[in-house]
């Protein structure tokens, strides 16, 4: 994805992005065999990509997605992994916590 984003190849980027979405879908189906922390990170990644036009992702966004996948979505994921995942996703303008935002509007 990063290569496609850097090369400004939207078709390649879209194809790579759809593969990622499919992989995350498979991971989500495996959540019961993993920890809640791991499931939470998968959920945040899926939530981040839910409303994205994959073809428009920037190299920075792709790089941060890779960091979350490689460094934090690990079987030993813990609270620190979740915090880092949220920071990386939000730093690149994804909205992993979007479903919680209406809760904030009521306050």
């Amino acid at each position: 994805m990063e290569e496609a984003a850097e090369a400004k190849e939207p078709v390649d980027l879209g194809i790579a992005g759809m593969s990622l979405i499919e992989s995350l879908r498979e991971m989500w189906r495996l959540r019961s065999s993993q920890s809640d922390e791991w499931g939470t990170i998968v959920n945040y990644l899926q939530s981040s990509l839910a409303d994205q036009v994959l073809e428009n992702l920037t190299p920075g966004q792709c790089s941060n997605l890779r960091s979350v996948l490689e460094d934090h979505l690990v079987p030993s994921a813990d609270t620190g992994s979740i915090e880092s995942a949220i920071d990386l996703l939000e730093d690149s303008d994804f909205q992993p916590l979007k479903p919680l935002m209406d809760l904030g509007k009521n306050c």
């Binding site: 995350l24 939470t40 939530s47 609270t79 915090e83 909205q95 479903p99 935002m101 809760l103």
Partner: protein, 285 residues
């Protein structure tokens, strides 16, 4: 307490730093960078529990117990009208994230979102914010607890905290300041227009009057619940800058406390309004 320049964050800012869009969070982070440290108070924590975590606990119970989205909707429809409307707006939490999601997936996703907020939300804030404990608010000191039945925010009323609640002693210590606030509020014109005395400020004024006359019975009035803005102002008194998303009450309380007021609009594209201590007039909220 840390040393250096400080800003006090009220409930609206702490909630926004947890569950508002990333652009708002970035604006808040950028503002906080100008200070050596950010702080808040235990009454603010109590308000967060009442306003954010209590709703999250209710929704968590719903999505954990219900087998279908339809059942969630049915339960919400059984609530009194005002609460029904409030929770209906939260149902984005069970919206489809992946197109192959079924009800079980959607409920499970909502459960994970809420559990993360309830287990780690307060820690997330404490990493960036120092909490002042002068008010000794017992409700604010207690954390949201997790037990086999789910999450529990604890009592919401000061009157149920007995001797653990330190608010009366805190009010006694600040009697002089309260008299000054009462005098200022007494001169304000009541009304809904910007700059006027809001219902909340009128309630704070009555609260001070009651305290001055019957300090021993004030705990039964549930101070944190009925005079939150006033108590939060007292908690912030030694911090020169006050940061909020709601200038309506703070514009007056900060004036009395000689603080600089910074108001963050809801729209992250809008600039913050800064009201300096020395300025003769402030914008009205």
């Amino acid at each position: 307490m840390p040393k250096g320049t400080a800003v006090f964050l009220d409930t609206s800012i702490l909630i926004a730093s947890l569950v508002h869009p990333p652009r708002t969070k970035k604006r808040i982070k950028a503002r906080l960078k100008a200070y050596d440290f950010a702080c808040s108070g235990t009454v603010v924590r109590a308000e967060m529990k009442r306003r954010l975590f209590k709703d999250a606990i209710y929704l968590h119970k719903l999505v954990s117990k219900c087998a279908t989205i339809q059942e969630v909707n049915r339960r919400l429809e059984a609530l009194p009208h005002q609460q029904f409307r409030r929770f209906r707006t939260c149902l984005q939490i069970v919206h489809t994230i992946d197109e192959t999601d079924d009800d079980r997936d959607r409920l499970d996703r909502a459960r994970l979102f809420l559990e993360d907020l309830l287990r780690r939300g307060m820690d997330r804030i404490e990493r960036r914010c120092h909490f002042l404990t002068d008010s000794a608010c017992a409700i604010g000191k207690d954390r949201v607890r997790e037990n086999p039945a789910g999450f529990d925010a604890g009592p919401r009323n000061c009157s149920r905290m007995g001797a653990r609640c330190g608010i009366v002693r805190f009010l006694e210590k600040n009697r002089g300041l309260l008299a000054g606030i009462r005098e200022y509020l007494g001169e304000l014109e009541p009304g809904r227009a910007p700059g006027r005395k809001s219902d909340e400020l009128a309630s704070a004024e009555r609260f001070i009057a009651h305290f001055m006359e019957n300090p021993s019975s004030i705990q039964r009035k549930d101070p944190c619940l009925t005079a939150g803005d006033l108590l939060i102002a007292l908690e912030s008194q030694h911090i020169p800058d006050f940061y909020t998303m709601n200038g309506r009450e703070s514009q007056h309380l900060c004036r009395v406390l000689k603080q600089r007021l910074i108001v963050r609009p809801n729209n992250p594209d809008k600039e913050e309004v800064e009201c300096d201590r020395g300025a003769a007039t402030w914008p009205e909220f």
